[in-house]
Structures are given as C-alpha cells and as structure tokens.
C-alpha cells in the first residue's frame, strides 16, 4: 500500500470514528481493559505494564455536537473539556474502564471530578505532576506518586506489575517515541517530503492502537518517506506553538501549510512524545520514569520548570530548526497557552522573530479567516 493510501485510511478513521480501533481491540481481547489518557502527559508504561491498553482521549473533534456538556461547563471553558465530557455523556466511552487526568490546568482538574461523579463505573485517576523541578525531593515525590498509580492500575488490570514488566513497557514506548522523533526529524530537515497533516495522522493513530501495531506502521511509513524527494516550495519555515492540549482540526493544519508555511516543529499530541531521550532501562523503572519527567521531558505550556524560561526554550527551538517565524496557535479559552503568549510575544519581539497569533477551536468548521491571516503574514515575510 502506498503511503498516501495508508495515511488516507487512518485519516478517515480519525475523522469519522476515532475511538473505534480501541473499542474493536477490546472486543477482540476479551477480559482486557482500556484506560483513556486525557492530555497532556501520561506515563503510559504503567498502564501497559498492567496489561491494559492506554489510549489518548483528546476531545471530540469537529464532528461531535455538544448537547449535554454545555450545561456542566460554562461558556468560557475550552472546547476539549466539554467535548470529552460529551463523549462520556453520550455513551461513547462505555468501553473505557479508566481515565487519567493531570494537574495541567484548572478545568482539566475539575473535569476529573466531574467524570468521577458522572461515570461511577469508571476508575478515574489523577496525577499531580510536580511543579517544583528544583527541589531535592521532587524525584522521590514523583516516584511515590507513580507507585501509587501503579498499584491502582494493578487493581484495575488484575495483575501485579513486576520490574521486568515495566522494563519491557519502557523499551516498547522508547521505540515508539524514537520513531516519532524520526518522523519529526524528516519534517524539520525536508518538510517538502512530509506534510504536518500527514505526520499528525501518523502520530495520532498511534494514540488509539497498541504501541506494537503503531511501531510497525511507523516503520513502514518511514521506509517510504525516506524515498520521497519532493522539490521545496516557496514557503516560510515556522515553528508552531500553543496546541499542546486541545488539537486543531486537520483542515486547519492543512490550511496553514497551504497558506505558505512549512511547519518544522509543533507541540501537537505532545504527551505521546514528551520525552526527548530514551528512558534508561537499568535500575528502578518507576524511578527512571519519574526522573524522565524531571530531566528529559519537553518544555510545554503546562510544565512549570523555573530552571529555564519557556521563552528561551521557544527561541532555542526556532534557532535549532532554522525556522524564521513562529505561529502561536492556541485553543480558545486555553488559559495556560494564552498566558504563555504574553511572555513569548515579549521575547519574540526582543529577538526580532516575526510571529502570528491565532486562536482555534476543535469544533471549528470554517477556516477562511485563519487562512487569510496566515497568507497575509506569509506575504509580509516573503516580500519583505
């Protein structure tokens, strides 16, 4: 199968019935459990090692009508919170045995509680990720938090997790992340050979199927991608920032590209590739997982690491990829992203890096406005 067909097939699943692969997996694996992971981060290894399938529950996209969740969450709350709840209230998460939420933002935290009340049959977990990366006690704390979680997953999965189990899961997801890094390397170095929309589909499908299957898909795709040799188009090279949680519609991503951008790097689905290096496999695996968050995870709007400013990370990323501009694409009402923008803007202006700020909603249908804003931005840069 050609790579275009491969991607088109997965894209159709993602647009029409994204949760179906996971639901199907469950029916073909009787007695097995599925755990939904709300963005951004999850130590999926802990779930996998307990014999369960971790999947990304990343909102409802633009094909879902919010009929019930609007009465639970106010108009000023972002779309992904409501659409995720809507999935639950319309029985689309009935096959999900557990959900995990994190300390990424205030609405996400409250959503965990609302899930607990509305879906008592589901095991709802919550991880408090440390916000103090400087303390001498942070690693001990996170290891204890992960051990607590491990116990919880052992109960749900009905299986004791040994260090060997966890070691195997770490190896598996190390491989998946390595392949995703390779995908991003291709985009950074030869963006004409892999569009952002394509890489997005290849990545997102992996959040909905077992990692073993995803690894096979990525390997197949990478073989074909390495053979592509397209001629670069006259486009500006940008780094995209701000979409770490709620995901923009694919049509919008395509629109940005068609309007004249090569997106060399982005923060889509960052939770599935949040570790920039492999997690070591020697020593205590839980502790290794904890240390990885503290020392090997990517910066993001919802990770608070006062060792280095986020703005510096962003500037470094622009320099390192060779991009000439930044597109800041934040979900409407996403407080962390919108706060970050105020600091990013200040630094980008200081560094004289052109940038464009856009807002999106996952339920968007009309993209003309964003597209024409990007076109104007691109023109101002190309003909400057």
């Amino acid at each position: 199968m050609g790579i275009e067909n491969l991607i088109a097939g997965y894209r159709e699943i993602l647009e029409e019935s994204p949760l179906e692969p996971a639901a199907k997996w469950k029916t073909t694996h009787p007695g097995s459990k599925v755990v939904g992971c709300y963005p951004v981060y999850t130590p999926v290894e802990l779930i996998h090692a307990a014999g369960m399938l971790p999947i990304g529950i990343v909102g409802g996209g633009n094909r879902i009508e919010i009929a019930h969740a609007d009465s639970r969450f106010q108009s000023f709350v972002c779309s992904i919170v409501k659409s995720t709840l809507e999935l639950g209230l319309t029985d689309k998460l009935n096959f999900v045995d557990g959900m995990v939420f994190h300390s990424i933002c205030d609405p996400a935290r409250n959503l965990g509680s609302v899930f607990k009340r509305n879906f008592p049959q589901m095991m709802v977990e919550y991880i408090h990720f440390p916000q103090n990366m400087k303390s001498r006690s942070t690693a001990d704390y996170l290891a204890a938090e992960y051990n607590r979680l491990k116990k919880s997953y052992e109960t749900l999965g009905g299986k004791t997790v040994t260090d060997e189990d966890l070691g195997r899961s770490i190896l598996l997801y190390n491989e998946q992340r390595k392949l995703l890094r390779e995908l991003y390397r291709i985009r950074k170095e030869t963006p004409q050979n892999l569009s952002t929309a394509e890489s997005y589909v290849l990545m997102r499908i992996g959040t909905l199927i077992p990692a073993e299957e995803h690894i096979a898909i990525l390997k197949e795709a990478l073989v074909e991608l390495r053979q592509r040799d397209e001629r670069p188009k006259d486009r500006i090279k940008v780094v995209l920032e701000g979409s770490f949680c709620e995901q923009p519609p694919l049509e919008l991503i395509e629109g940005l590209e068609a309007a004249g951008c090569y997106i060399l790097d982005d923060d889509f689905l960052i939770g599935w590739r949040w570790l920039v290096e492999d997690i070591p496999t020697e020593g205590d695996p839980v502790r290794n997982l904890a240390r990885a968050y503290i020392d090997q995870s990517v910066y993001s709007g919802v990770k608070h690491d006062s060792r280095q400013s986020k703005s510096k990370h962003l500037i470094d990323r622009v320099r390192e990829t060779g991009a000439s501009a930044v597109i800041f694409l934040a979900a409407k009402f996403c407080e962390p992203a919108l706060f970050d923008y105020a600091l990013y803007r200040r630094t980008l202006e200081k560094e004289a890096i052109p940038h464009l700020a856009l807002e999106f909603e996952e339920k968007m249908w009309i993209f003309d406005k964003s597209r024409s804003e990007v076109e104007t931005f691109v023109e101002s840069m190309l003909f400057d």
Partner: protein, 432 residues
C-alpha cells in the same frame, strides 16, 4: 405574596470593621515604606493555604498580589490596569486578577491604598490553582526576585488525607524555603520564634472557627460572605501577629454579643443561603443589596475557606510547626481539595447551618473555582433537591457584571423560594 423590600442598603459597621480598617491601613503603610524607603524585604505569596508564619519568622513582609488585585477592583481602578495588560498581549480570557496585577506592576506599582514593593522572594505557594504558577512565573520574569515554586500535591484521592509522601515532600520544600529566606533576609532561622508565631496562628484560627460557627444561629449574627471578607484580610496578612490576634478577639466578642441580642445584619432574616464562588469585587455592594432586599443572608461560603478550613477542625501545632504548616497547605484549605470534596463541604453547610438554598457565583477569571459549576448545580438540584441558583460575573473585570441580568435571576429565584415557603406555611396552617 410578600414583596421584596425596596433598596435595602446594607453594610457592616461595628467595632470589628473599624479595627480592620485601622490594622489593614497600617499593613499597607508598611508595604509603602518597603517600596519607597527600602524598609524591609517583601515576599510575594498567594492567599490559598499561605505559609505566612515562615515569612514572619524572618521579619519579611508578606505581599499578596491577589489582595492587591481585589483592592484595585473594590476601589474601581482595576480596568485601566487590565487593559494595559491586554495591550501587552494578555488575552481577554485570562484571569483578570493577574492582568490587573501585571498592569499595576508595569505602572510604577502605585495604587490608591499602597505602593507595592518589589519582591525579594517570589514564593509561589501552589495550592490548587494552576494560574498561580503562571502569574508568579510572569512576575519573576518582570522583576529581579528569586522564584521558588512551593509545590503542594493536589488532594485528589478518594480520601481527604494526604499521603506520607505528600507530607514529606512539602516539609522538605519548606526547609528549602527556610534556606532561601535565611539567604535573602540575612537572618538566621529561629525555631522558637516560628513556634511562637505558629502558636498565635493556632489561637487566631480557633477564634475564626468559633466566629464561623456562630452563623448557625438564627438570625445569623453576620453575613458569612459579605462580612466574612472583612475578616479574611487580617486572617491572611496578619495571622501570627499580636494585632491579628487582637482583631479576632474583638470580632469574636462582638459577634457573640450579637447572638445574645438576637441581632443580624438585616432587619429580618427570611432566607438563609450558602454561597459558592468568589465575590464580584467591583460591584460588591450592588451584589449584596440584591440579596438583602429579599432578607437573604449567607450563612456559609466556600470562598471564606480559600485560606484555610479551620472551621472543620484544623489547628496549627507549635510543637510541629513545619508539619502543621504543611497540613494546612495540603489538606486544610478549599482550593487544594477536589471538586467533589467541595460538593461535600457545601452539602455540610446546607445541613449543619440550616440553609434554604445554594447560590453559585460563577466567575470567568477563576476557573479553579468555576469550571464545572454546572455539574455542581446538577448535583445539588437533581440529586439532593436543594434549590440552587447559578449567576455569572467576574471577580475583577467590571466588563463582566450585568446588574440588570443579575437582578432578574436573583429576583426570580427568591420569588420562587418565597412562593414555596408560603405554600408550606399555609399547608401547616391547614393541618392545624
């Protein structure tokens, strides 16, 4: 049907109120002296579960950007600062407390109540609210202050007990804060002094808990929302000091006398309600009057527990000062507890404080408080059968307060409560 009284203007004017003005005035003068004459080192902190005792042990000055932001709103000068922040790139949808503070910070830090000193230490006592982290991250970038993110694990489990790992993590961090304070203040940590301060906090907390229990009386001697906020400033800014203690002694005595005399804040108490959510500071008086005219008194509020939950049994322990400060931050304040634990807290208020209804004031600026309050309303009306009203505005941004709309909703709600009450009373009459 009984009609709502016309335009009842209520405001609390007792000894407590005058004393509050006096001691808070002195506190703000101290901020100004620190800012203008370099007299003392300022530590920026946040209200929720604040560890003010540690800061006082080094004779440093606690500064609360939240209190400054709310003062700007109360004094109706917040909007230009909010707009300044928006010009800098902050969004319409960002917390307006932060925007007012950032705008003020970039305008010479001068306010009608004090000049705000620059921070020597930016102590982000992360208790529940994620915006805190961003707020202090931004202030650290705008100033030369050192940032310490005192991370408090969110109390999210089934039980309302923090784990041993949570407690150890917080105590270890408090020790690191002490190291930072020693370095910044140039003073050696004095354990006995901290114990003394913590012991005063324990006494203060105990009196505050007693005061809050008095609203179980009918009539309630004071309004547990609109008058409680008068007591909250000394509770956070001056807890652990002699004058803070004196304030609570005065307030307790005054409220006990009111109970003796059967006096409340209104001529007649016709409804008792519990209120959830922070107040609309720019329109506090207008908001209060909308309830007063119905004879409605708040007998309990969740907002008054953002700094601590003394009324449910917390007491600082001078024998274990750091552990008790950690317990305060982890367990004994509203914002570090889950949404469902808040439902339980409200339910307890409704039952034990004998309330007729729950009013939810949903504010755009504070998603920690507000996100999901529709679910809360669903639970209280459908599962528990408690009349519940949800109204929306903001804690800081005057652009989100629509008095006419608010009035319509509140009037309709109390009209319906009045009607139900009348039916009940007439049914009781028939039975007799």
């Amino acid at each position: 049907m009984a009609q709502a009284a016309e335009a009842v203007k209520t405001t609390y004017q007792g000894q407590m109120h005058l004393l509050q003005k006096e001691i808070m005035g002195k506190y703000f003068e101290r901020l100004t002296r620190a800012a203008e004459q370099g007299d003392g080192k300022a530590v920026y902190m946040l209200i929720s579960g604040n560890p003010v005792e540690l800061v006082l042990a080094f004779d440093m000055i606690p500064v609360y950007p939240e209190i400054n932001a709310l003062q700007l709103a109360v004094k109706k000068v917040a909007l230009p600062f909010i707009q300044k922040a928006e010009e800098m790139g902050y969004s319409m949808d960002n917390c307006a407390y932060v925007k007012a503070d950032v705008g003020m910070f970039h305008s010479g830090r001068k306010t009608p109540f004090a000049t705000i000193p620059l921070p020597s230490l930016i102590l982000c006592n992360y208790v529940g609210c994620n915006v805190y982290l961003q707020w202090f991250e931004h202030l650290a970038e705008y100033s030369d202050g050192e940032l310490y993110n005192l991370d408090i694990p969110f109390l999210h489990g089934e039980s309302d007990e923090p784990s041993a790992a949570d407690i150890t993590y917080v105590v270890r961090q408090l020790e690191e804060v002490i190291e930072a304070c020693e370095r910044i203040s140039g003073k050696k940590f004095d354990y006995a002094k901290l114990q003394q301060i913590v012991s005063r906090s324990a006494e203060t907390g105990e009196m505050w808990a007693k005061i809050k229990a008095l609203t179980k009386n009918t009539p309630s001697p004071f309004d547990a929302y609109f008058d409680s906020v008068t007591m909250m400033a000394p509770l956070y800014c001056l807890r652990g000091t002699e004058e803070g203690l004196r304030f609570f002694e005065t307030a307790l005595k005054e409220m006990e006398e009111k109970v003796e005399l059967g006096m409340g804040p209104l001529p007649e108490e016709r409804f008792r309600f519990v209120i959830e959510g922070p107040p609309p500071w720019p329109y506090l008086r207008q908001f209060r009057d909308l309830f007063s005219k119905w004879g409605a008194v708040a007998v309990a509020s969740t907002y008054s527990t953002v700094g601590g939950l003394w009324e449910f049994g917390f007491k600082h322990d001078s024998n274990h000062p750091l552990e008790s400060i950690a317990a305060h931050m982890l367990k004994w304040n509203l914002t570090n507890r889950s949404f469902l634990q808040r439902y339980e807290q409200i339910h307890r208020y409704v039952k034990e404080w004998h309330a007729d209804a729950l009013v939810i004031h949903s504010v755009k600026s504070c998603r920690l408080f507000s996100a999901g309050q529709g679910d809360m309303r669903e639970h209280f009306t459908k599962d528990l059968g408690i009349p519940t009203l949800l109204v929306e505005s903001d804690i800081e941004d005057p652009r989100y307060f629509s008095e006419a709309q608010m009035k319509n909703r509140i009037d309709a709600f109390f009209e319906s409560l009045e009607h139900q009450k009348m039916l009940r009373e007439s049914a009781q009459g028939d039975a007799r």
